[in-house]
């Protein structure tokens, strides 16, 4: 069992948890993820390692409640335990001194961007952060991001905080202002449409862009092939070959279709869960 040591509610649907998992904390690096299972009947779901503390042996997760498992996870409190927790999985981010890099986090994607931005900064890069969310209420970790970015731009889709605009709008402005030749790399993590839009933009400028894909997964060790995605015309497994790939090569349309494989079942799982706990409160068992 893996104990939840701390829980923060970052927004009504975004929660942060610190989990005791010394084996994972010992070795994990920026860009890697874990897979957890809440209880015996539970599904295995992947979540990015948003932060870690090697000394304390803890892993920080930030997740958005989108379906049965994440809602149920969100209903747990500090002191509760999670049945299974495995990691660190995936290939760590490739970190070296590139020059100026732009790290774009959309929505809950800010969390996975954070440790990578920190590692890039530590490696001597000039890190420009761009973070955006639909609305002010969903914004989190601005302070943490500010610490690991030399410059930080914040935006909301509805203009309820700082400015109005998508992250791609800000990205375009920054590229135009600095000049495309002065930007070595863009990292974009967030919802699939946002990553796709960033890639479409940077393709025009010819700037190398790395994305972190969130395909469906089961084992996370390369055994099932559920996470396969076409990158540069080749089938790759997100869990072992990724999760980071060259965004200009990713077949986002295929990824979106495959992600929707179980949409009907996911809906059923939610309804089944809600009728069991009474009011759709997301309460655990």
């Amino acid at each position: 069992m893996f104990r939840i040591l701390d829980k923060q509610v970052l927004s009504p649907v975004i929660k942060q948890m610190v989990i005791e998992a010394p084996l994972v904390a010992r070795k994990c690096q920026a860009g890697q993820f874990i897979i957890l299972r809440i209880h015996e009947e539970g599904e295995r779901i992947p979540l990015t390692i948003a932060d870690f503390d090697r000394e304390k042996g803890t892993i920080t997760l930030v997740f958005q409640e989108v379906g049965k498992t994440t809602i149920q996870l969100g209903s747990l409190e500090a002191g509760d335990s999670i049945r299974d927790f495995v990691g660190p999985l995936g290939t760590p981010s490739h970190i070296e001194k590139f020059g100026t890099v732009i790290c774009v986090g959309g929505g809950v994607g800010v969390a996975p961007v954070f440790p990578i931005a920190r590692a890039l900064k530590e490696a001597g890069n000039h890190v420009i952060g761009i973070m955006g969310s639909r609305t002010r209420e969903l914004m989190f970790w601005e302070d943490k991001m500010r610490e690991v970015c030399h410059e930080l731009f914040v935006t909301t889709d509805d203009g309820s905080y700082v400015r109005k605009g998508f992250v791609t709008d800000v990205l375009k402005e920054v590229i135009e202002e600095r000049g495309k030749d002065n930007i070595a790399m863009v990292l974009a993590i967030g919802p699939q449409p946002m990553m796709r839009a960033c890639c479409n933009l940077t393709r025009e400028y010819g700037i190398k862009t790395v994305v972190s894909l969130n395909s469906l997964m089961v084992d996370g060790t390369g055994m099932c092939g559920c996470c396969r995605v076409t990158v540069g015309g080749r089938t790759r497994f997100v869990c072992v070959d990724g999760p980071e790939f060259d965004g200009h090569e990713v077949d986002f349309a295929e990824l979106a279709r495959r992600s929707a494989t179980f949409r009907v079942e996911e809906q059923r799982a939610m309804e089944h869960h809600q009728c069991r706990c009474g009011q759709g409160c997301g309460g655990g068992r």
Binding site: V24, E41, E43, R44, V86, P88, M223, T235, V240, R257
Partner: protein, 475 residues
């Protein structure tokens, strides 16, 4: 009893039939298909054995179970003695009795089989093991602690056997398993209806009683490498039994459509994650009306039979050779047919078509004929030009094989690898090119059988013990 000495005993030509769940009924549930012999049937079957002096049956068994001896004890109703006899050679009889391809192994060489049906050795082995499980397995003896620590990576039949043997020899054994339960393919691959998971878990409980520590959710190569286990965690030796878990795909257009699964995914969702109990269990699976399973081995049969149980109207095995070449266990092919699985022999797909949402809506196939024998000695399937036709299917399961997962091989320094990414290990000892590191099972041989994996685990345990004793003598 002196029956074995009676020269002219009446030969019963056929095996006593295995009681089965009714095919129509069982094709809708996940309960075990073969119900097992009762005591009377087991004794009667055991009495068919001729107690041959040369014991040809034993040569057919990869671990040389003392077959006539245990069968004699069954005939004498000494079931406790029989299971003890079996266990001298086979650590997982409840599993092997159910899943060994007996027709190619022990039973193939049985004298009775020349003119009649062979003795049902597998069924008798299963009977003895089930008898013991029902009685409650007695704790086994272990040698005094040696003070050595051994890490076993992977908890399939190879790892489990190696761990059990090492623990009995007094070593402290820790198993590291990547998934959340131990058992390997026995848990995530082979379906409940063929190998009930309680049988596997009972074996694992025994292992724990021997003092073996099992750490699940531990992916070696990720949380620690083999080198780190030895250098930082103080393990004196390591056994690698990580299996052949990497799925092979066809590499045909449309293979990434929704509704195309690797057999590993299809079976893992169903067996390990219990998708057949969805939504009470959270993991979903989706099968359509018509399922095509590509391949002809045990894995393919399991997937095709699972598809029916998950509600498919039609489940097809699509295999590029003919029925005679099917590599699956004979009994499972028969069971599959009885349940209504259909077969398209001499057929192989060339592409998969998807609808606008990306879902499978059909599969283009070519017909084949058999040509000259290939390296494997089987006649090579040759496509017939212009024979394209479209199969109307909405789910495709690819079951054409697995190769070793590269994770441990790639992260371990100084490990010699074979052409297919397998670990090279001496078949006599299990030793790899790296001192103190041993390997066995599918990760060495490529996808093979439970009994071979088990045998390799046993051999490696012996050599690890020798290696450690040597080390002690030298220090």
């Amino acid at each position: 009893m002196t029956e074995s000495k009676t020269p002219k005993k009446q030969i019963i030509p056929n095996k006593h039939p295995m009681p089965h769940q009714d095919p129509v009924e069982r094709a809708k549930n996940f309960n075990e298909v073969a119900l097992g012999y009762d005591e009377e049937t087991a004794v009667a079957e055991a009495q068919r054995c001729l107690q041959c002096k040369k014991q040809p049956c034993r040569q057919g068994c990869p671990v040389e179970v003392f077959i006539p001896d245990f069968i004699k004890l069954v005939a004498e109703r000494d079931f406790a003695g029989a299971i003890k006899k079996i266990k001298e050679k086979n650590a997982l009889p409840a599993v092997c009795g159910r899943v060994c391809p007996q027709e190619n192994q022990c039973e193939k060489y049985c004298t009775l089989g020349k003119k009649h049906e062979p003795v049902a050795i597998g069924r008798l082995e299963r009977f003895c093991a089930d008898w013991e499980l029902a009685q409650g397995v007695l704790p086994q003896e272990t040698a005094p602690a040696t003070g050595f620590k051994v890490a076993v990576v992977g908890s399939g039949p190879a790892g489990l056997t190696c761990a059990a043997d090492l623990a009995k020899l007094g070593h402290r054994v820790t198993i590291f398993e990547a998934l959340h339960v131990a058992g390997g393919v026995l848990m995530y691959g082979i379906p409940e209806f063929r190998l009930p998971k309680r049988v596997v878990q009972a074996e694992i409980e025994n292992l724990k009683k021997l003092g073996v520590e099992i750490i699940t959710n531990a992916v070696v190569g990720k949380f620690a490498t083999v080198d780190e286990l030895m250098e930082e965690e103080g393990f004196d030796a390591v056994f690698v039994g990580t299996g052949a878990g990497l799925p092979i795909f066809m590499n045909i257009p449309g293979e990434n459509s929704c509704g195309v699964y690797s057999a590993n995914e299809f079976l893992t969702r169903t067996n390990l994650m219990k998708a057949y109990l969805f939504p009470d269990w959270d993991t979903p699976i989706k099968v359509g009306r018509k399922v095509a399973v590509l391949g002809g081995g045990n894995v393919a049969m399991d997937a095709a039979r699972t598809a029916l149980r998950l509600g498919a109207e039609e489940s097809w095995i699509v295999y590029r050779r003919s029925e005679k070449e099917l590599p699956a266990r004979h009994e499972e092919v028969e069971n599959a047919k009885e349940e209504g699985v259909k077969f398209a022999f001499l057929t192989s797909p060339t592409q998969i078509f998807a609808d606008d949402n990306g879902w499978v809506k059909g599969m283009e196939c070519l017909r084949y004929e058999l040509g000259e024998p290939d390296d494997s000695g089987r006649r090579r399937p040759v496509p017939i030009p212009g024979s394209e036709f479209t199969m109307d299917v909405d789910t495709v399961v690819v079951a054409i094989g697995q190769t070793p997962n590269p994770l441990v091989p790639r992260t371990t320094r100084g490990l010699e690898l074979g052409r297919k990414g397998n670990i090279v290990a001496d078949p006599e000892t299990g030793a790899t090119s790296k001192p103190g590191v041993y390997a066995g099972g599918d990760v060495v041989t490529g996808a093979a059988t439970v009994i071979l994996a088990m045998g390799a685990g046993r051999i490696a345990a012996r050599s690890i013990h020798d290696y450690l004793m040597n080390k002690k003598a030298q220090s």
